[in-house]
Amino acid sequence: MQPGTGGFAEVYAEHVTPVWRYVRLRVPADADAEDVTSQVFERAIRSWSGYDGTRGSVGGWLMGIARHTVADWWRRHGRELPTDLAASGLGEGVADDDPEGEALRRLGADEVRRRLGHLTAREREALALRFGSELTSPQIAELLGITPSAARMLVHRAVGRLREVMGDE
C-alpha cells in the first residue's frame, strides 16, 4: 500500500475494526474508545504521506499510532479519574503504580475490561493486541520491541493470570 489519501480510504476500511477492538480493550468506556479511535485515524491520515511500506505492514503502523494515542489518552485523563481509586481496595495483588489497571477494574464498562484491569500494563497490552487487533505473536513482538518468543510468553502469562482472576471470582 502506497501513501496517498485515496489509498488511505482502503486502509481505513480494512483496519477500523481491529483498531476499535484494540482501543476498546484499553480504555474504560465505549465513548472513550470512540474518541480515541477517531484520534487514531486523524493522526494516521496526517502522517500517511510519511508511511514507509518497507518498514512494516500498514496494520502494524496503525497499531503503533493506536498505542501512542491510548497512552496519550491515559496521560490526559488519568488525572481526571476519581481520587478514591487507590483506596478502593480493588487493587489487591496488583502493582500500585498502575492507575490504568485500577481505573479499568473500577470503571470498566464490561466484564472483559474489568478483568483485564487485574493484569499488568504489559500483559493487558499483549492481550489487547492478540485478541483485539488479532495480531500474530511476531507482529506483537515487532510493535513491543521484543522477540516473538517473548511475545508468546507474555501472552501465555497474561492468559494464565486472567484464568486466575476468573477463578477467584
Binding site: 496517498g4 489519501t5 485515496g6 488511505f8 480510504a9 481505513y12 476500511a13 477500523v16 475494526t17 476499535w20 477492538r21 476498546r24 480493550l25 465505549d30 470512540e34 479511535t37 477517531s38 485515524f41 486523524e42 491520515i45 504521506s49 464490561d110 466484564e111 472483559v112 492481550l127 489487547a128 492478540r130 485478541f131 483485539g132 488479532e134 500474530t136 505473536s137 518468543s149 508468546r152 510468553m153 501472552v155 501465555h156 492468559v159 486472567l162 484464568r163 476468573m166
Partner: protein, 180 residues
C-alpha cells in the same frame, strides 16, 4: 512444542474459528468479548473525515486542465520528434538527427509525466511546476526563432510557453483557494 507455542496455536485456532469445542473457555470467552463491531456512527464519522481529507488533496479543475494540457503538448512534441524528424528538420533548415530527436522525445515524455502529476494530487503540484514550467517557458522562448520559419513549430512552442506560465499561475491560485 513449548507451552507458549501450544497456547499461541490454540489462540490462532480460536481466532480463526477452528478452535475445539472443548477448548480453553478463557480463550473462547476472551475472543468473543473482544470481537465487537465498531458503532456505525463512529465508522461514518471517521469515513467522512477520510473523504474530506481526500478532497483536500484533489487539485482544482483549472490546475488539472492546464497540467494535462501541458502534458499533452509535451507528448505531442515527443511523438512528432520520433515520427516526423525529417519534416521538422527540413522546415527549420537543419540536418535531421534521429538519435538526438529520440532522446529528446524520451525526456519530453518524462516532463509530460511530471506535468500531469499536478492533475492527480494537489500535493504533487509543486513538483510539476518546478520541473515542467521552466522547461515549457524555455521551449516557448526558444520557439521565437521559428516564427516566420516553421509555423507548426512556432505554434507548438508558443503553446508550451503559455501553458508553462499558466501552470505556475494555476498552482498559485489553487494553493490560495485551498487555504480559504
Amino acid at each position: 512444542m513449548s507451552d507458549d507455542e501450544l497456547l499461541d496455536a490454540e489462540i490462532a485456532a480460536v481466532l480463526g474459528g477452528t478452535g475445539r469445542p472443548d477448548g480453553d473457555p478463557t480463550l473462547t470467552w476472551l475472543a468473543a468479548s473482544a470481537r465487537t463491531t465498531p458503532p456505525p456512527d463512529l465508522v461514518a464519522r471517521i469515513g467522512a473525515g477520510v473523504r474530506r481529507r481526500a478532497q483536500r488533496d484533489r487539485p482544482g479543475r483549472l490546475l488539472s486542465v492546464v497540467a494535462l494540457a501541458l502534458a499533452a503538448v509535451f507528448v505531442s512534441q515527443a511523438i512528432g520528434n520520433v515520427v516526423a524528424g525529417d519534416w521538422i528538420a527540413e522546415n527549420i533548415g537543419e540536418p535531421n538527427g534521429p538519435h538526438a530527436y529520440f532522446e529528446g522525445a524520451l525526456a519530453l515524455m518524462a516532463a509530460a509525466a511530471c506535468a500531469a502529476a499536478a492533475a492527480v494530487r494537489r500535493s504533487w503540484a509543486p513538483v510539476s511546476v518546478l520541473s515542467a514550467s521552466p522547461l515549457a517557458v524555455s521551449l516557448g522562448l526558444h520557439g521565437v526563432g521559428e516564427f516566420g520559419v516553421f509555423a507548426a513549430g512556432a505554434v507548438l512552442h508558443t503553446t508550451e510557453g503559455v501553458l508553462g506560465i499558466l501552470l505556475a499561475w494555476a498552482w498559485w491560485r489553487d494553493r490560495r483557494r485551498s487555504r480559504t
